[in-house]
Amino acid sequence: MSRAREVVLVLGAAGLVLAIAWFVPWLRFVLTIALAKGLAVLGILLLLRAGQVSFGHALYLAFAAYAAAFGAALVPETLILLPLAALGAALLGLVVGLFVVRYREIFFGMLNLALSMVFYSVLEKFYAITHGTDGIRLPPTTFAGQVLGAEAQGWAMLSLALVLSAFFAWLMRIYLASPLGQALAGIKTREARLEFMGMSARRVLLSAYVLSALMAGTGGAVLGMTTRHVTPALAYWTTSGELVFIAILGGAGSVAGPFLGAIAYELTRVYAAALVADAWQMILGFVLLLVILFAPGGLWAIGRALMGGRRQA
């Protein structure tokens, strides 16, 4: 696919999201949430390249969302709060990463899960600080110094989510094509060789882990500032599972997969919940089953086949 065609596709997709939000106003919120989750799923996808699955990335999502919630009282400016919260998550990712990159596969996945559950417990139990399961309500924040109404704020958050999604998708493609990204994929097939070439596989994985925490944190900050209410459920293991679910649904073959998957997931969820309130999880389960059985490349691969497209990173 040519550069120009890609840019047109990305702009077209962004335009489509904005158009849907315009014609179906209540979906604006749903789409912003979907993009926020897509950012976190992009982080999952990065680790999947190394053959590692994190079942605990909700940790970074929740950390950044809570950081935004606490920070909003001090710095009520979206454009400062968001990067700070995301960088905080990346820093946490560095600290946790130093420890978890020593492990692989099920141990890697479960350690991430365990740490996210520790954070969940902290959020739930330290009521005096976190208000437990009641969560924290975010005060209104300004956007580039402007005090926006609810409507304008909604549009601003959606636009911001779109810009961030495009930016991180672009960044990840560059990263994956770089020697570091290629070495990351090498961890999946022949990790030992990296060491024989004088490279530290752990450092390669750590770089990816920090980047994935940054992306999950960015998603978490957007999520927190969009819902304006954060609860410990953000850190619960089902949230992490949801991110992995979306990664598989969207497809691991492209950086567009997470966003495609997240949008499909959120739309299925809201419509299925409206139509068959008690059975929407079952519907999602069947959708995942169908994807795994018949389209292991996920929605992205289906879309590509429909468009008759060619291979793409």
Binding site: S178, P179, A185, R190, F196, M199
Partner: protein
């Protein structure tokens, strides 16, 4: 000639098996040294000790006058000791070119995340490297689609990409179809001589040893039992009995 790699009094045992029981061995700068001997004698163990994967229970190993005992494999690679494997260690989902380019990048440039692996400089060097090994026509294939001979050569090419001064090869021709064997060895010998690399290789094929080695060391029961030029060592009655007794398939080659 001075010794590039020098081992003194190496001892290591696995349970009751003495893989090295007081081994002294010098590898001279610029030579091709073959290590032969029965399976399980400790030949691969020697490579593992020299590259930091195993620590001898006693003894010393120095490289270019520097003690390398206790260094990690990564530090030793960075000093200029490369190795290749009996079972090629390739990135199976990458192409041959990408495998080679990753090795080039490992030498310099892994931490530059903003330009692609196949940037002109790395791509060109990787292609030149593959060309020297006669692998250029297969550059676009995935590593797991290659035949064993090409896999072995790719494995060695990746070690050579790091520009080692000393290359330790574990059975470079094992698993290679016998019709390809000599071609693989010819390519190897030419590239290594051109690059001025000192080579140590563990080998079971006596024809390869006779053709390729400057000196031969016989590793039997944890000791070097014979050491010298191939025509001398391979015709030694004791060595022939040892080789013939324990690896009958190679008897006819040893006589050649």
């Amino acid at each position: 000639m001075s010794a590039l790699l020098s081992a003194r009094g190496l001892k290591i045992a696995f349970g009751g098996l003495k893989a090295a029981d007081g081994v002294d061995l010098d590898v001279d700068d610029g030579e091709f040294l073959a290590i032969i001997g029965p399976n399980g004698a400790g030949k691969t163990t020697f490579i593992n000790m020299a590259t930091g994967y195993l620590r001898p229970q006693a003894g010393k190993i120095s490289y270019a006058g520097r003690n390398i005992l206790g260094m990690t494999p990564r530090q030793i690679v960075r000093l200029g000791i490369g190795r290749s494997f009996q079972l090629p260690q390739l990135f199976t989902e990458h192409t041959v070119l990408e495998n080679a380019a990753l090795a080039v990048a490992a030498r310099d440039g892994i931490w530059s995340p903003f330009s692609p692996l196949l940037r002109p400089r790395f791509k060109q060097e990787a292609e030149e490297l593959l060309d020297r090994f006669g692998l250029l026509s297969q550059a676009g294939q995935r590593a797991n689609a290659l035949n064993e001979g090409a896999r072995k050569l790719t494995d060695i090419a990746m070690a050579v990409a790091l520009r080692p001064r000393l290359l330790l090869m574990d059975e470079p021709t094992s698993g290679v179809a016998s019709s390809d064997k000599m071609a693989v060895v010819e390519v190897l010998a030419r590239v290594l001589r051109q690059s001025g690399v000192t080579a140590v290789f563990v080998e079971h094929d006596m024809e390869v040893v006779a053709r390729f080695a400057d000196r031969v060391a016989v590793w039997g029961q944890g000791r070097i039992t014979a050491l010298g030029p191939p025509d001398q060592v391979l015709n030694d009655p004791d060595v022939r009995r040892e080789v013939i007794g324990l690896a009958p398939g190679e008897a006819s080659h040893a006589a050649a």
